[in-house]
């Protein structure tokens, strides 16, 4: 369990460099797609095209990475998994979808919280027909984007 106590300012407090470092810095990377993507007849894990963010992480920071997308299957006989990854390393999953009918969608959203090393990092979203048959689809449109969001939520400790 990791906890920290944020700075609780009182009148006449000074904004020191230490206190500046503890503050959340907000979003670092955001990218969305507004067109469907499918994996046809394959169980191979596939990068979701364009849902990749490359950014420079400062020293001693904690990040939150969120994936969001609407998934469906052509055959309701298995599990669809969508992951948050860095290269070949799985950081977490934001979708694990097992419909009982092909008409069922899953608006999936999930996050991971990490404290990466300083420097350049590339995070991406992937999807996989983990079991079963048929095709899997990421459903996205102009009013229903899929996205990856990377946020700095504060100092690492």
């Amino acid at each position: 369990m990791a906890t920290r106590t944020p700075w609780d300012p009182v009148t006449d407090d000074v904004m020191t460099e230490t206190r500046m470092d503890t503050l959340a810095r907000g979003w670092l990377g955001y990218v969305e797609v507004t067109a469907n993507q499918s994996v046809v007849g394959s169980s191979t894990e596939t990068d979701i095209t364009s849902l990749t963010v490359t950014l420079t992480v400062q020293a001693g920071r904690k990040l939150k990475i969120t994936g969001h997308g609407i998934f469906s299957r052509s055959v309701a006989d298995g599990v669809t998994i969508a992951r948050i990854k860095e290269g070949s390393t799985e950081l977490g999953r934001f979708c694990q979808h097992c419909p009982s009918a092909a008409t069922e969608f899953d608006c999936a959203e999930g996050s991971i919280v990490i404290a990466p090393s300083a420097g350049s990092h590339t995070y991406k979203l992937t999807m996989q027909r983990f079991s079963g048959t048929g095709n899997i689809t990421l459903n996205a449109g102009a009013g229903s984007a899929a996205f990856i969001l990377v946020e700095d939520v504060g100092s690492a400790s």
């Binding site: 904004m15 020191t16 460099e17 230490t18 500046m20 470092d21 503050l23 959340a24 810095r25 907000g26 979003w27 670092l28 990377g29 955001y30 990218v31 969305e32 364009s50 990749t52 963010v53 490359t54 950014l55 420079t56 400062q58 020293a59 001693g60 920071r61 969120t66 969001h68 609407i70 419909p99 009982s100 009918a101 008409t103 069922e104 969608f105 899953d106 608006c107 959203e109 300083a118 009013g143 229903s144 984007a145 996205f147 969001l149 946020e151 700095d152 100092s155």
Partner: protein
């Protein structure tokens, strides 16, 4: 792809917190509304239409060049234990859809209790400066009426956050 480099994670002694630094920070939550009572939604097959989730609407003033995130969350339940539910929940500004907070299908043919799912989703936007009113809606489209099941210990809610400058 939109990225930005924030202030360095390690500030130097004597560094001044300028207005530029302050503007680079997330502003935090702008609005939070919740409901703690159920609301029913009639299925399209019975004449139901996309309907506002009552109480889950908020008007916020967005400052110049900001990026915001709007999140909706609720437990969605079949109103018929033998039915099929397709629940389409959107985040809207007026008649303009911004994204989905819920899009889920559920068939309960093998269960004896009311099937339900916890749905949550968000959108990330860079709106113009000024007042904006955002809301959550729901459409039942699967042949079965549905319920947003909300209580004091399982509220449905909408949260609007300023996550930093637009770029």
């Amino acid at each position: 792809m939109a990225t930005r480099t924030t202030n360095p994670g390690t500030a130097d002694p004597g560094e001044v917190a300028t207005s530029a630094f302050a503007n680079s920070l997330p502003g935090g939550w702008l609005a939070y509304v919740e409901k703690t009572s159920n609301q029913s939604f009639q299925d399209q097959s019975s004449g139901g239409t996309e309907t506002d989730v009552s109480g889950l609407s908020a008007t916020v003033t967005v400052n110049t060049n900001r990026r915001i995130r709007i999140t909706g969350s609720a437990t969605v339940q079949l109103d018929d234990p033998t039915g099929i539910m397709l629940a389409y929940g959107r985040i809207m500004e007026g008649a303009s859809p911004l994204g989905h907070w819920c899009k889920v299908g559920l068939a309960n043919a093998s269960l004896t209790d009311d099937a339900e799912v916890k749905a949550e989703g968000s959108v990330v936007l860079t709106p113009s400066a000024g007042a904006h009113t955002y809301k959550l809606t729901m459409l039942a489209s699967g042949g079965t009426d549905l319920i947003i099941a909300a209580s004091a210990t399982d509220a449905a809610w909408m949260l609007i956050e300023d996550v930093g400058p637009a770029s």
